[in-house]
């Protein structure tokens, strides 16, 4: 109950004119940055953090936190409309989202993503409010072996994403893993496969790569397709509004994935991408409408969007209660706290209650602002996508180039984008799916590092992977996933006999 009183106090601060302006500013900027192909949460926070230097810390964090999760809303826009995810969590959203756009239902996809983002985000913030410190403590129980098994579990379930073309999907997985191994090796700290390029010393940058594989390859495809129409034709505003049946379908998914996403977001390093991915494959497995997922289903959009927004909120728990970052973007925010003269750590809650609680209060408000803003934008965006391809194609090419360049201000990243675009196009004409590739690219290095750390801890004794309840839980899940086709076969055989 004490938390509620503190939260109300936080609301009273967050509702000040200055802080409301900051929240709205952050949300608007975040939505624009998120919607720009190739620009996501970490870029947005990095680019705007310097501007808040010297601001009042409460106002500054309210603006940046608003920006952080509104990029999550915006990131889904370019993923759904153009098949260009702005950051890694949106990769999963683009699978079903862009298929809906191609079906002429971009509005429905955008609405599904917005509403479920709101639900997931709000659930995450409620959990954060009620049990922030406890949650962060629970996250600490996940050491390298537990995290290795979690990531391995996510990777083994890639099978569900491959569809009919198993060898093609596995080839894509292999390519993703090869790309992922460029950069610093986790055993000796040396650069691998850098081909003498300084830009590759610490690995292939995600943004130019994703802009190439998704955006640029998409453009090539649009040119080949050749018709003069728009990406999505016959778009009616009427089709944007979800039906009652669709709401009933998505609501339990959003709530369920919101809760799980929050917990995944708390784990050190796991973050929004893992949670988005896990939520998608979980629904693909258990949902009543699972057969539709992957062909352009609103559930396929709602699950990852709810989950990644919840994870974004969950990542604040270790940041605020322990002073340790839960992911890449919160690491930048942690630097921000220090710049504003605050000391992140367990005393933040007691020493700076105004700061912490007005931040949490502002997250509730920011979520509402994002929801309203997104609803205002959707009809405009749906119109924009109806623009003729003659205009859209060269403009998207220009945006792909500058988004790749802005990653690290080098032409190398533009060249990288171009190479990935060509590879993406070759994969497309060979009917090889790109999604498994991007997911192994994100998860592969995590697995490699966690495995290395586990062996480091025990000096090569693999028994560490069986060290406790959490480990066994994931081992059983992995075994179930791996042998589920076999079990299913046995089960149907047994039933047909009976």
């Amino acid at each position: 109950m004490e938390n509620i009183a503190l939260l109300l106090h936080g609301f009273s601060i967050a509702f000040s004119l200055e802080n409301m302006a900051a929240a709205i500013f952050g949300a608007v900027v975040g939505l624009i940055i998120g919607a720009m192909p190739g620009l996501g949460g970490i870029t947005g926070v990095s680019l705007l953090l310097p501007l808040t230097f010297g601001m009042n810390p409460t106002t500054a964090i309210i603006a940046l936190a608003g920006l952080y999760y509104s990029t999550m809303y915006g990131g889904a826009f370019s993923a759904i409309l153009l098949n260009i995810p702005g950051d890694s969590p949106a990769v999963v959203t683009s699978i079903d989202g862009f298929k809906l756009t191609q079906k002429g239902l971009p509005g429905k996809a955008l609405n599904a993503s917005t509403v479920s983002s709101f639900i997931g985000g709000t659930i995450g913030i409620i959990i954060l409010t009620v049990s922030g410190p406890l949650l962060a403590r629970a996250g600490l129980a996940f050491g390298a072996p537990e995290l290795a098994l979690l990531v391995l579990f996510a990777l083994t379930s890639i099978g569900w994403l491959l569809g009919d073309d198993i060898p093609g999907g596995l080839l894509a997985t292999a390519i993703g893993l090869m790309f992922a191994t460029v950069g610093v090796d986790p055993a000796l700290g040396q650069s691998r496969y850098s081909f003498g390029q300084i830009s590759l010393l610490s690995g292939i940058s995600f943004i130019p790569m994703v802009v190439g594989f998704f955006g640029f390859a998409q453009v090539i495809d649009m040119i080949i397709a050749g018709d003069d129409g728009a990406v999505a034709t016959h778009v009616r505003i009427r089709d944007c509004v979800p039906t009652w049946k669709e709401i009933k379908m998505m609501l339990p998914v959003s709530i369920r994935q919101g809760i799980i996403g929050t917990f995944v977001g708390v784990m050190p390093g796991a973050g929004a991408t893992t949670s988005a991915f896990l939520s998608y494959i979980m629904e693909k497995r258990i949902n009543k409408y699972r057969d539709e997922i992957g062909t352009g289903s609103m559930i396929g959009v709602a699950a990852p969007e709810s989950s990644n927004n919840a994870a974004a909120a969950g990542a604040f728990a270790p940041l605020l209660t322990l002073g340790i970052p839960g992911g890449a973007t919160t690491a930048v925010l942690l630097g921000g706290l220090m710049m504003w003269g605050l000391q992140p750590g367990p005393l933040l809650f007691t020493e700076q209650p105004d700061f912490v609680w007005s931040l949490i209060a502002s997250m509730y408000i920011g979520n509402v602002i994002c929801l309203v803003l997104a609803f205002v934008c959707i009809p405009v965006l749906v119109r924009a996508i109806s623009v003729s391809k003659k205009v859209l194609v060269p403009v998207i090419i220009a945006v792909c180039v500058i988004a790749a360049y802005a990653n690290s201000y080098t032409m190398f990243d533009v060249v990288l984008m171009l190479i990935c675009g060509v590879l993406g196009y070759l994969m497309k004409i060979s009917n090889i799916p790109t999604t498994p590739m991007l997911l192994t690219f994100v998860l592969g290095p995590m697995l490699e590092q966690y495995v290395r750390q586990s062996f480091d801890m025990t000096r090569g004794d693999p028994s560490i992977f069986f060290r406790g309840g959490i480990c066994w839980f994931f081992i059983i899940l992995i075994l179930l996933v791996s042998f589920s086709p076999l079990l299913k076969k046995l089960y149907t055989k047994a039933r047909s006999k009976a």
């Binding site: 953090l49 390298a144 040396q190 003498g196 830009s199 322990l322 002073g323 925010l333 710049m339 590092q449």
Partner: protein
């Protein structure tokens, strides 16, 4: 049609009008050999905003601009990528330019040497001045089995190959601390490597490692909150302040060889005019004397005051790099590569 032509015309006018704004000044060294800034100087940060190098660069720029210490302003530009290679090589490409500066951190220099870059730190940059020590401590969990460094040493000696030492990726400055402890105390510990100090702190708090190597600025919040405790420092003298002051140095413990410190400061593009270099050395000296620097930066981030001008700093850095390369050579690190 008319509307569109108007837009085009307007754009053309805008571009032409903006041209003088893009004009560039040239380096001005007057006849009496003094240097005056005729355009903005950029401090390149070879990392993303929010990190240690970024904070120090912004602090320097802020102090210079706010106190009008130079003719023209300082601006900060982040060029992350390739660990720090993209930023360093960019500065290297601006050879001789007195307006391209770099946020100096000794860790980056070590990376360039250990990873055997084609162009080393001293081919790409000249150090203007070392301006702060960023000391290193070994921390333990307060609710863990260890209270002092003696406990740690005793346990590690009694149980070889058991104590988990949480640290940065191999090939970094942090590995030097590990190797020195192994060599001079004879400790057989397990080196567990993490991506960032935040991950080290997190693993330490969760009990997944027994000790963690951290800068005071990286763990001060947890130390104040009573979750972590510094048990020893690698600096030659104790770190000031009550939170870290109780941690002894290795010299006090009788291991004078286990001493090294990281440092921060300002570098510039290689071979800038000597007058410019002297100008910036003097500027750095004046910055380190300001109250803002000492209170808002050093104290707030738990750094120790330092000032070492160009030549002395270059020599000191070269020695630091040598110490690391020699130690890594001795322990056979380079033999493991290829």
């Amino acid at each position: 049609m008319r509307k569109m032509r108007m837009v085009a015309l307007l754009a053309a006018i805008l571009i032409v009008a903006a041209m003088p704004l893009m004009a560039k000044g040239s380096a001005e060294v007057s006849d009496d050999g003094t240097f005056q800034m005729t355009k903005e100087a950029r401090i390149i940060v070879p990392a993303n905003p929010g990190g240690g190098s970024d904070i120090s660069a912004r602090m320097i720029a802020d102090i210079v601009n706010r106190n009008h210490m130079t003719e023209k302003n300082f601006v900060v530009e982040n060029r992350p990528g390739g660990a720090c290679a993209v930023g360093y090589n960019y500065v290297g490409s601006q050879k001789g330019d007195p307006y391209t500066l770099l946020s100096l951190h000794s860790g980056n220099i070590v990376v360039s040497a250990v990873n055997g870059w084609e162009m080393q730190w001293d081919d790409l940059t000249d150090i203007i001045a070392i301006m702060a020590w960023d000391d290193i401590t070994l921390c333990v969990r307060t609710d863990g089995p260890f209270e002092t460094i003696e406990d740690v040493i005793e346990y590690a000696k009694a149980n070889p190959g058991k104590l988990r030492f949480g640290s940065d990726q191999r090939g970094n400055t942090s590995q030097l601390g590990f190797e020195l402890m192994r060599k001079y105390i004879g400790l057989d510990m397990n080196y567990v490597q993490y991506d960032s100090s935040g991950d080290v702190a997190s693993a330490l708090l969760g009990g997944h490692v027994d000790v963690g190597i951290l800068n005071p600025g990286e763990c001060i919040g947890q130390v104040r909150g009573g979750l972590l405790k510094p048990v020893v420092t690698f600096a030659p003298e104790r770190i000031s302040g009550e939170l870290f002051g109780d941690a002894p140095t290795f010299i006090e413990l009788g291991y004078p060889e286990i001493t090294y410190r990281e440092f921060r400061g300002l570098s510039g593009a290689k071979d800038m005019p000597e007058a410019a270099l002297n100008y910036y050395v003097d500027l750095c000296k004046r910055i380190t004397e300001t109250e803002e620097w000492n209170v808002n930066y050093l104290e707030a981030n738990n750094l120790q005051p330092a000032f070492m001008p160009h030549e002395e700093a270059m020599q000191f850095t070269a020695d630091h790099v040598n110490q690391i390369m020699q130690t890594f050579e001795e322990v056979g690190y380079f033999d493991l590569l290829n």
